[in-house]
Symmetry: C2
């Protein structure tokens, strides 16, 4: 493939001149410029970005670790991040950490070796980041922006959701409809997101002066199986309503419901997290806490690139707002009169 020397030769100029016209980094006389441009055209010259990165010591690549792109929560987030990254001139390197610290470390090391300029990380729960890795990141001046989850020991910019407020609204909605025995299926306690949603659940109860029955608090891991398992347990305790911390666990919960031949919302009301376009079309139509997924990803890329391009800026924490989308699964239509 053509390189800068071949176009320089073809245009009868030096490589510096070619570089100048390619990067518009210096004035080049019209004659030379057009000769260079003609040569570029003729040879189909594409600057080698790897070589350029090596020279300028900037890869213009961003690493991103999400738990699992196959979990329907993430695609939109990734799409947002990718769109914004490209818009700003960066390429995204995507990895699935599976919430496993070992995998996360593997990918972090890969990012380090690839000399990405920055990293968007949704931290795996459990083991905190290895000091060696944290130091290497530090030494290489590779900034981290935390996505959704925070963890003590990890500092940096972050873009978060209003998990607590979202859960609070959701559970308040249920309380307002008259439900009192409200269960919850939370995610792992090791994840800040889960903890904050659980706090929201508790806070709502407190404000309404309703005691939380500990037997109605279930814990899962954000995957379908765990929603099913937690659902089987919880349903024995006869809750009137339930708040579920993400979509996949809600799917699992529905399986349990089906098995017990219970109907929603007649036998039990449901409010879940994460909205999806298709929820409108199937029954029961879920009432959900709707997080701005695309925007989360876009903001993460934006914040990270800001950090990269303007130095000495204070740490930035953006918190995006959720909104409650009310459909039938919360029993709204049945209970409306009770409001």
């Amino acid at each position: 493939m053509a390189n800068i020397y071949s176009v320089a030769k073809a245009a009868r100029v030096s490589v510096a001149t070619v570089s100048a016209v390619v990067n518009k980094s210096a004035y080049v006389s019209p004659q030379l410029r057009s000769r260079v441009e003609a040569a570029i055209e003729k040879l189909g010259y594409q600057p080698n970005l790897m070589a350029r990165s090596l020279a300028v010591r900037k890869s213009h690549m961003l690493g991103m670790i999400v738990p699992d792109i196959a979990n329907p929560f993430w695609p939109e987030v990734v799409r947002g991040a990718e769109d914004k990254a490209h818009e700003l001139g960066y390429t995204l390197l995507l990895s699935n950490g599976d919430d496993a610290p070992a995998k996360e470390e593997l990918y972090l090391r890969l990012f380090l070796a690839k000399r990405v300029d920055g990293i968007i990380l949704t931290k795996a729960p459990g083991r905190p980041m290895k000091p060696e890795i944290a130091q290497a990141l530090e030494k290489a001046h590779i900034p981290l922006t935390l996505l959704l989850r925070v963890q003590k020991g990890l500092s940096g910019d972050s873009v978060l959701l209003d998990d607590k407020e979202g859960a609070f609204e959701a559970v308040t909605h249920l309380l307002r409809l008259g439900y009192r025995r409200i269960g919850v299926i939370a995610g792992s306690n090791a994840v800040s997101t889960s903890r904050r949603r659980l706090e929201g659940y508790r806070q709502a109860h407190k404000e309404w002066g309703v005691a939380v029955d500990p037997a109605l608090v279930g814990v899962g891991n954000f995957r379908i199986d765990s929603g099913y398992a937690a659902g089987r347990d919880l349903l024995k305790k006869r809750p009137e309503a339930i708040f579920i911390s993400n979509y996949l666990m809600a799917v699992g919960f529905m399986q349990a419901l089906r098995q017990y031949q219970l109907r929603c919302p007649q036998d039990i009301a449901i409010v879940t997290c994460d909205d999806h376009p298709w929820l409108d079309s199937f029954t029961p139509r879920l009432t959900t806490v709707n997080f701005p997924k695309y925007q989360v990803g876009a903001e993460a890329a934006r914040v990270l690139v800001d950090r990269l391009t303007t130095r000495d800026r204070p740490i930035e924490t953006v918190q995006l707002k959720s909104s409650l989308t009310i459909r039938e699964s919360c029993g709204y239509s049945l209970r409306a009169l009770a409001v």
Copy 2:
């Protein structure tokens, strides 16, 4: 960050020796080896993969263009491709082409500039690939593996689905249940996948000696809106059943159904393409043509890397098999006696 010179100095050896131990590319005496290893450890040395790529003229990166990661069909495919790529020592560069030729060209050029070793492409419909780009790919020896869709003028390895057979099975299932006025919502005719699914639909009718009513053939673009629009039109023609070419259009169709206050499967039976774990949990439970999405992605990466590592191999075309997952939306339970 430490480079090969600093570890060479720290270990009092030459860079060649360091390189040899890092890559195990030559015998190094135990003494020197351990000195080098100690230095690497101490300095936290990570070889710079960009520099290495420049030197060996291999980036170990694969470009991948999918229409839209936010369309729930793709995440699993991408996950499969990513897992396999990593397993084989490659990194995936993901881009969303939005089925827009202009975007596709943009990303193809980016891949070219980044010197990816190979490209997995789900071709956008419409305009064929620009000759200049095709030639550049050719000249740079960057192989293409086609994902799901073929297009005349584009050659190379490919991994495809048995679209026609899948659709044939689906529609045959409906015919077997006794439906005769069976509609279809196909994807764009410019996409080979759509055409083949439509062929399957026609073939099934032919084999059963049932004439296809042209008024029952709708066309969309794989997105929700188009499913809704096509649904509104089609429902006026009073089909007894319908076959829909992908999940998102099925979601749109359900909206139309809801608007007309029609029930599935009592008023109309539905079979769609693309299965998802959550389809089990919501009503109507869709009968679907289940494509092995993860495997599609994994195979694409595998085929591409095979092409990269063993030369002079014949073009490979892998075709993966679908299977019909029967639930209630096809009216199976209502019609079972009729079989």
